[in-house]
Symmetry: C2
Subunit: 334 residues, 2 copies
DNA sequence: GCCATTATTGTAAGTGCTTACATTTATTTT
DNA sequence: AAAATAAATGTAAGCACTTACAATAATGGC
């Protein structure tokens, strides 16, 4: 079944069938109905390849992320997928892992599939050294690149960001005003959002004229048990901390487990705040106060922006969304 | 840059370029090298649409699941993606949610994209009533359908399953031999794997000549806090249970939280076993004993089988993989 | 060196769609 | 009712590839 068969059955030309297919208004209602009838009867579906060949586009967006099994990224993928489909676009997902080589390779692969745009999810997708991202800047000349919670300067590159810095600053301020003096800050990576969160932590201390002690800022893999180990070690080494502020809920879970193991009372003796408000945060007892990074809003905004780009609208290249602090039982706020 | 440009630069015909592109052996080494050189110099990549038009295939597999944010499914997606790419196939992901209407719609959408096969992940993807799956059975005439942890009979439909029934039976037997007499069984759905797990629970009791009390089998949404509520209610209603066996780790986390809230000692007073060995299982204190459903093995087997199907090999339509019990601190096995 | 094979290369006809432009038909306007 | 305009439809030329078949070049046997 192809467009010729349909045109023959409906007694029209293939051009008319094509117009019906593409919602072209220059078709009389009578013939449109007749053509649609034939299509339904025969169960005809247009061949995407032929269509892509003619149009040069296939209404498909490439979504890339480092690892779909991270709850945060998994949620983002879910929302992006949903929003894109609502806008009439399909998506191809690629999980690249962390190697730059893979990222590049998969990117090229999607590019060769002629996706209409890219959505790169997570700040870890962007490399720290600018030159390692030049392939993206270069590619953006042909196809728009959207970053969800990632940052990169460039023509035709659009970022939707969460205001991590403010969120962490405010969280730290609440801890400080709640009587915590020695806040340990745990972060997973030096990505854009990672360093931004750290700045928020520093902001809070500096605004109060407090000094930032570098041994209270610790890098830690995004892993529950590793975090528990790290905190146990710091404790045994004699570092005193009465609060743990983290860049990811997984670390906060690790902190809760450390507290259990070392007999520290939460929140009286130790306060804990996580980041992302993911499933992690309600798994523990007590449940974890967490910063909600608004994944859903981030994703809908990204797709809306992208549609703006497609329609030639004047669209901001950078949108920032405020986070929310979700208060649970690992902190004693009023 | 198209095949004509390359052929001109290399001084050969487009047929020869096409042969190089497709690894056709009927090309002399000299000309092959020359053509490849030109391709590299110019950065030429073949147009997928034109290629698809000619070949009728695009080396792309449609992956469908109900919800990518479920940790189990997220892992499956990750492994499937990886294995497919290693075999030279791309994937398009669709998260359909639970509505049958959506499943059908997205399925047709991928079909119209001419994917070379479908991989449907999770037993919840298959409907309970046989007639609701007839669209799949019908479609399988054209394109192979692989089910990961789902079951459906039909020509050209291949299932890779985890032996849930045995796994749950053995887990229950260990609880029974460890002195638990009143094992509560919590399950999330009546899917194929859901009912299979339940059968395992019944098997264990019946093998020992014990009667199955229906109020010890409870349906529960896949939600931590709902599970906690349900157990609290059952407790208050006076139901006595000394172990909770669940069809998903999320429920097991809820059970741990119930135990904390109601002052029940784990594992002395209450044993808990989860399913899937997901991130959930190490978030709590104590950490949860869980049945490892071998997602990775399931996924690699699925892709291997699919490649067998593509190559016309004689491939089993049903493969079953044994699960593993990962012992942690919510049980007191020796 | 000639013919039969075989290896390599080229020609041209699909593949199923889109769309600029041409043509026909319907609707106004005068 | 003719002319002018607008609406609907058709024709045919792409789009970038694959591949059957034809043609040519290389090789080997005598």
């Amino acid at each position: 079944m192809n467009i010729y068969d349909v045109s023959k059955k409906a007694g029209v030309s293939i051009a008319t069938v094509s117009r019906v297919l593409n919602g072209n208004p220059n078709v009389s209602e009578k013939t449109r109905a007749r053509v649609l009838d034939v299509m339904n009867e025969t169960g005809y579906t247009p061949n995407v390849f032929a269509r892509g060949l003619g149009l040069g586009t296939i209404r498909t967006i490439g979504i890339m992320c480092s690892d779909s099994s991270d709850p945060y990224l998994a949620h983002a993928i879910y929302y992006l997928e949903r929003e894109l489909r609502l806008s009439g676009y399909d998506s191809i997902l690629c999980c690249t892992g962390n190697s730059l080589e893979n990222k590049r390779q998969y990117f090229d692969l999607l590019r060769s599939k002629k996706v209409d745009a890219f959505i790169l999810v997570g700040s870890k997708f962007i490399e720290l050294r600018a030159k390692d991202n030049s392939y993206l800047v270069e590619a953006a000349k042909d196809v728009p690149i959207m970053l969800v919670n990632g940052y990169l300067e460039g023509e035709n590159i659009y970022c939707t960001l969460c205001d991590d810095r403010t969120a962490v600053r405010q969280a730290a301020e609440q801890l400080l005003s709640g009587g915590c003096n020695d806040i340990l800050y745990l972060f997973t990576s030096y990505s854009y959002s990672g360093t931004n969160k750290m700045k928020g932590y520093r902001d809070a201390l500096m605004n109060l004229g407090l000094s930032v002690r570098e041994d209270y800022i610790q890098n830690c893999p995004k892993d529950v048990l590793e975090t528990k180990k790290l905190l146990s070690r710091l404790d045994e080494e004699g570092l005193h901390f009465d609060a743990v502020l983290t860049s990811d809920d997984a670390l906060a879970v690790g902190a809760v487990k450390y507290a259990h193991a070392y007999g520290r009372k939460i929140p009286d003796d130790l306060s804990i705040i996580g980041y992302n408000n993911s499933i992690y945060s309600i798994c523990t007892d007590p449940e974890i106060t967490s910063i909600d990074s608004k994944v859903e809003a981030l994703c809908t905004t990204t797709v809306t922006t992208l549609m703006g780009v497609f329609n030639g609208c004047n669209v901001p290249s950078r949108t920032t969304i405020a986070a929310d602090l979700i208060k649970r039982a690992t902190t004693k706020f009023h």
